[in-house]
Symmetry: C2
Subunit: 189 residues, 2 copies
């Protein structure tokens, strides 16, 4: 089980770290021993929407062999959804069986054509921008369409991450992860 | 108003990004125009507790001129609390008027002597380790002692960050930031 976590300039770091924390605990808490991930980008280093610099461990290359793709949001998505090189790279993930977004990361999944005929959500400020890309924009916090999961605004990344822990490993594993994260909130999809 | 956000090897990234997101919105949402921050470390690049690499923008030097110090947690703190060089650096913040920790970051504030005579909290797994450093270990999610604020486990960073937004800019600003973060949970200290 190998996940690709996409990072890019102008990303909102909490969109990323919000799911990175619960999902990577599948490995660090020994829930799924072979769970692994890469932090993937088209550049070795990216700068988030407020100036923080993060490093990717995997630069470019196809995304086709991953089991899960997760795309955070941030104002950088407004430009990237129309960036041919970036979108060609994201489209290499077309056969990835589970594609996930947080916040305006949904615009990237949408621009890649992954949301056609699907219900999806995004940051409330971007509902209208998402409309052309999907069947229906819904206002739920986490929308699970089986092979596509979209989470709403920034902090919904945590609830989405815990939902994925539950999908992969069950409700007891989710509860253990939430306890270790000291997360008292119970958002159920 | 200048904040020092401390980062180090073995840090839990959500401890950091959980407060970084709401607090830096003081600037990005134009709530406090002169709000500024540095990401401070003793190394130019750090690796978190699951392998993610982040860059500091300020390496070493005194912390004495900052208005706020914020220290995240992570297993790296277990060693750093006994690291003379690191603790000498943290102690340069002794006159910083507001000192804040998340999770086991409290062990660092404690080892620096900043928690003497104070109520404080930390990750529930580290209550006993915190005891020698403070007056009373309390189990509240965010403990505000005026010049010292300690937050409990990982995800409490968000609630602490929103509390600081409210302290600096009022409840209306806090509500605006929470809305932009799409954070529906209402933790009041």
């Amino acid at each position: 089980m190998q996940a690709a976590f996409i990072v890019f300039d102008g990303m909102t770091s909490l969109d990323f770290i919000g799911f990175y924390d619960p999902i990577t605990r599948l490995k660090s808490m020994k829930i799924i021993d072979d769970f692994a991930w890469n932090v993937c980008s088209l550049a070795a280093e990216i700068t988030d929407d407020r100036g923080l610099k993060l490093k990717a461990d995997t630069v470019g290359g196809t995304l086709s062999h991953y089991d899960m793709l997760v795309v955070p949001g941030g104002f950088g998505t407004r430009k990237l959804q129309h960036d041919e090189k970036f979108m060609a790279w994201i489209k290499t993930a077309s056969d990835v069986p589970l594609k996930v977004s947080v916040c305006t990361g949904a615009l990237i999944l949408g621009a890649a054509g992954f949301l056609k005929g699907r219900r999806a959500t995004t940051h409330p400020s971007a509902y209208r921008e998402l409309e052309p890309y999907c069947e229906t924009v819904v206002r739920e916090r986490v929308v699970d369409e089986g092979t596509i999961i979209t989470a709403r605004g920034v902090s919904s990344a945590i609830d989405m991450g815990l939902h994925i822990v539950e999908r992969f490993a069950g409700s007891e594993a989710r509860a253990r992860v939430a306890t270790q994260m000291d997360y008292p909130y119970q958002w159920q999809v």
